[in-house]
Every structure is written in C-alpha cells, then in structure tokens.
C-alpha cells in the first residue's frame, strides 16, 4: 500500500491517471452508442488511420498526437461519405480505410530510421511516459467529447434506437452519424497513448458491453459504462505500477474480467430463477 501511495506522488503517475481517466470516460460514453449502432469496429479502423497520422508526425517532426488527430478526423468524415454515397458496406469501408492507413504508416516507418521506438509507444500504449502537454490536450478533448454527448444526447439516442422515426422527428440523421464518427476519431487518438492503437477499441467496447448487460435504462447504461471505465483504468494503472506489468494489458484484462463476471453471474442468476 505504501508503495502505491508513493506512486501517487510521482508526476508521471499523476499525469497518467489524469489522462487515462479523462480519455477512458469519453471512450466509454461514446462506446455505448457505437456498440448499440453495431459500429464498434469503427474505433479499430480509425485507430489504424491514426497510426498513419502518428507516423506522419514523427516523420516530419510534428507533435504526433496533433497530426494523428487531423488525419483521423478527416478520415472519419470520408468514411461516412463512402458509406453513404458509394454504396460500400460499413465494415468493408472500415477495412479499406484502416488497411490504407496502416500501409501508409509502415511505408513512412521504413523510410526513416530511429522512429521505431517511438512508434511502439503508440502501438502498444505507454501512458506512463505521457507528457504534460499531451495530458492537457487529452483532458480538454475528453471534456469536449463528454459535453457534446450531453448536449446532443436526445439526437444520439433517438437516431441510434430508431433512425427512421428520428428523421421524421426532424433530427438530421446523417449529421448525427458524422458527428459520432468524428468524436470516435478524436477519442481513438486520445486513447492511443493510454492503451495503444491495437487495444483502443477495448476502451470503447468493453465498459459499454458490460454496462449494457445490466442497465435498466439508457441513462444507467451511460453511468455504468463511465464507472466501469474509470475504475478499470484506475485499478489497472495501480496494478501496473505495483506488479510492473504493462498498463494497457492491465486495464484491458481487468475490463474483460469484469465483463466475464457479469456474464456468468447473469447466466447463473437466470438458471436459478
């Protein structure tokens, strides 16, 4: 316990906690909508695009977080356009864009020497090395994402539940889809440093999937997803510090464990009743 307490005194641990909790909350809230729209993999696809963004940043010497943000948000918009206009299936569009993004990233890596180490931090997450500028950007954007969700809550909920009736009620369904995808792009980029781009989809999907199993109404689903995410990140980071394991693995495995516990306790409860 004392070791953990001493951990809280370290600047790097404080920064990791702040950024992790902010990003985790935004990911979880957005994840509830994406999972219910059967669009959970969009996070995974956009993460691959952000890999290209990071590579561009490292190659040309920009802050990788910013170049990744710009590229991912633009691609999120393109993705929606392709789906709506070109008649491409949703998952095919994601596969097209993500493989393109990853290929660009690999090309840039091979063209330059010495950025492999930095890239690893984005592939697998390296929250304990997060800089204070990155923390500020992460927190500000996480707050913005949460505010947008609160602001457009009815539009997001209605279009997710019954898109046709929502349109008749005067909600611009396509614009809402676009906004959600752009928000997903932003949070994916933020989540990259926390758990790495290969696992960022877990931050969106696992707390949401757990919450959806037990919530009785939609507000509860959002609150539970938020609580699961915050506690998984907090405990995961503490475990990583105490046991010297990678933070990303700790956070994701913890979340998965909670999901399994809910799943099994529900099926046992059902058997009894």
């Amino acid at each position: 316990m004392e070791v953990l307490w001493s951990g809280f005194q370290y600047g790097f641990f404080q920064r990791a906690l702040l950024a992790g909790l902010g990003v985790g909350l935004a990911c979880a809230l957005l994840g509830v909508f994406l999972v219910l729209r059967k669009d959970a993999m969009i996070g995974h696809g956009l993460a691959h695009i952000s890999f290209a963004g990071v590579a561009v940043g490292l190659f040309f010497g920009f802050l990788p977080l910013l170049s990744a943000l710009v590229l991912t948000v633009i691609t999120a918009g393109l993705l929606i356009k392709i789906r709506q206009k070109a008649g491409v299936y949703g998952d095919t569009a994601i596969a097209l864009m993500s493989s393109f993004g990853f290929a660009v990233g690999i090309l840039l890596v091979s063209l330059s020497s010495g950025m492999n180490v930095d890239l690893f931090a984005y592939l697998f997450g390296d929250i304990l090395t997060i800089s204070s500028l990155e923390v500020k950007i992460s927190l500000a954007l996480a707050v913005a994402v949460v505010l947008v969700i609160i602001f457009y809550f009815r539009n997001f909920l209605f279009t997710t539940f019954d898109p046709e009736a929502a349109q008749v009620a005067g909600i611009p369904e396509k614009r809402v889809e676009y906004l959600l995808t752009v928000l997903a792009g932003i949070t994916v980029v933020l989540g990259m440093k926390v758990v790495g781009l290969l696992l960022v989809v877990a931050l969106m999907v696992i707390p949401a999937a757990s919450a959806l199993r037990i919530a009785r109404n939609f507000r509860q689903a959002l609150v539970f997803a938020g609580i699961f995410s915050l506690s998984e990140i907090f405990v995961g980071l503490c475990l990583s510090f105490l046991l010297d394991i990678p933070a990303a693995a700790g956070i994701v495995l913890l979340g998965f464990g909670i999901y399994l516990i809910i799943l099994f306790s529900q099926s046992r409860f059902r058997q009894r009743s």
Partner: protein, 259 residues
C-alpha cells in the same frame, strides 16, 4: 376513382395532399401519378400487394424520399417548407424490430420524441413528465413507465410506440404494417385503440396493412395501391365494389386490379 371526386363535398382543407406523385428506383417505376388526400377524422387503410409502393408512398409523405414527379403538401404547406413535424406521428414498419438488449426504458422511448426547447431538457427530471405519462395513459401503458422496453411483449411495445407518436399531440398518425408478428387477440385490442383515437380525439390515421378484416371493422376509407392508386373510396363503397369481391376471391396477397 380519383380522390377529388370522393372529397368533392368537403369544405375543410386536407391535412395531407399527395399530388401526381411518381417515384422509381433506377429503371423500375414504383409509383405512378398517385393522388390522395387525407382529411381530419379519416381512418384510411392503405392496402396493396407486396411491392405495390405502399411504404414508398408513406416515406414520400414523410419526406424520407423525394418524388421524381409531383408533390406532397402537409397542412397546406409545401413539404420543403414544412417544419411542424410533431403534428405527424409515425410508427415505422421496423419499430419493434429493435435489438431486445437495447437498454432503454419506456419513459425514455416516449420522451425521445419530445422536441427539446433547451439542450438540458432531456436531462431534467421534470422534463415534460406529465406529457409522457399522459401519452402512456392513453394507450394503457402507464404502469410500465420504468420497464426496459425489450422486456415487454410485442403488443405492449406497439402501444409504447403509439404513445411515443402521441406525445407531441399529432393530428395525423401514420402506421406501416404495425401488427406484423403480433397474435390475433392483441391485434384486435390494438386496432380498437386506434379506432378510439380516431373517434374520440379526431386523429386522422393512415394504416398500411395487409389485413382485410381490419378494413371491414374499423376504417372509414380505403386506398388500394398497385404502383398506381387503383382504388380510393369510402369503406361502404369499398365493400360494394367489384374490387373487394376480387380481393376476397384472390386473397389479399394477390391483388391485381385492371382499371
């Protein structure tokens, strides 16, 4: 029979006017020169075989699709300029086909149709709680307000969707095949509820349906669509028509009327 012949005696203006509407997907023509007026107090059954364009016509009326020719006027306004969508309640064909695991309560389903005057309206506890409760009382579902909608039966879910449409105090209710997958006694109650709303609240209702039995009991007008509007008349005329006899002879999935 053109709709203006039937309505020639009416003095009030129609709530919905479909004027010479045609529509097609690629080369295939789905609707051709459809004219139809809906007045206050109408309970219209829109019938026709599969692929006759019933749902397409509804979507054009709701501005979800744009007609290739012709126009729709809602409450005497051009559809482009029409902003009072709360006046039209809509229950889509797939309303009850949502994911049963979707964690949304009856209260939230009804409230999501309430226009938000302020962004935080949805979040405040007192948010038009009375409106939601009243709408649920009309359909007899007020005791289920906190239930998760996925846990209700198909018939109960339909009632909640009616409440969702009613919460904005509409003057027209449009239902697309509302009783698909619902058992016969539940259907009966459901149509009784619609008939009550039509008579007591003066709500105009457009019901897209395959059920000829319903047409006999509750509706006061019938429109039959088979790409063109092949029949439009009052319920009494409909029962006397050759058209109806042919329908009974052929079964309601086999309606092909040669005008």
């Amino acid at each position: 029979m053109p709709s203006d012949v039937i309505e020639s005696g009416r003095l009030d203006s129609p709530l919905i006017e479909v004027i010479g509407v045609s529509f097609g997907y690629n080369q295939l023509e789905v609707l051709s020169e459809v004219n139809l007026n809906i007045y206050s107090g109408d309970f219209l059954a829109l019938i026709g075989p599969n692929g006759a364009g019933k749902t397409t016509l509804i979507k054009i009326i709701l501005n979800l699709l744009k007609p290739k020719k012709g126009e729709v006027r809602l409450f005497q306004q051009k559809i482009k300029e029409f902003k009072d969508w709360p006046l039209i309640g809509y229950i889509p064909q797939k309303a009850t086909h949502f994911d049963p695991l979707f964690p949304v309560s009856v209260r939230e389903v009804v409230a999501m149709n309430l226009p938000q005057a302020r962004w935080f309206d949805f979040w405040t506890k007192k948010m038009k709680e009375e409106d939601v409760l009243r709408a649920l009382q009309v359909v007899g579902m007020e005791n289920y307000i906190d239930e998760r909608i996925g846990y209700l039966s198909g018939g109960q879910q339909q009632r909640v969707f009616i409440a969702r449409a009613l919460v904005t105090h509409p003057r027209v209710l449009i239902l697309d095949e509302p009783t698909t997958g619902v058992d016969a006694p539940t259907q009966e109650k459901f149509y009784d509820l619609l008939a009550r709303l039509n008579k007591e609240e003066g709500l105009a209702i457009i019901l897209v349906t395959h059920e000829i039995g319903i047409i006999n009991r509750h509706v006061n007008k019938v429109a039959c669509l088979n790409r063109r509007l092949v029949y439009h008349g009052t319920h009494g005329e409909f029962c006397q028509s050759d058209f109806f006899r042919q329908m009974l002879a052929d079964g309601h999935h086999m309606i092909f009327h040669k005008h």
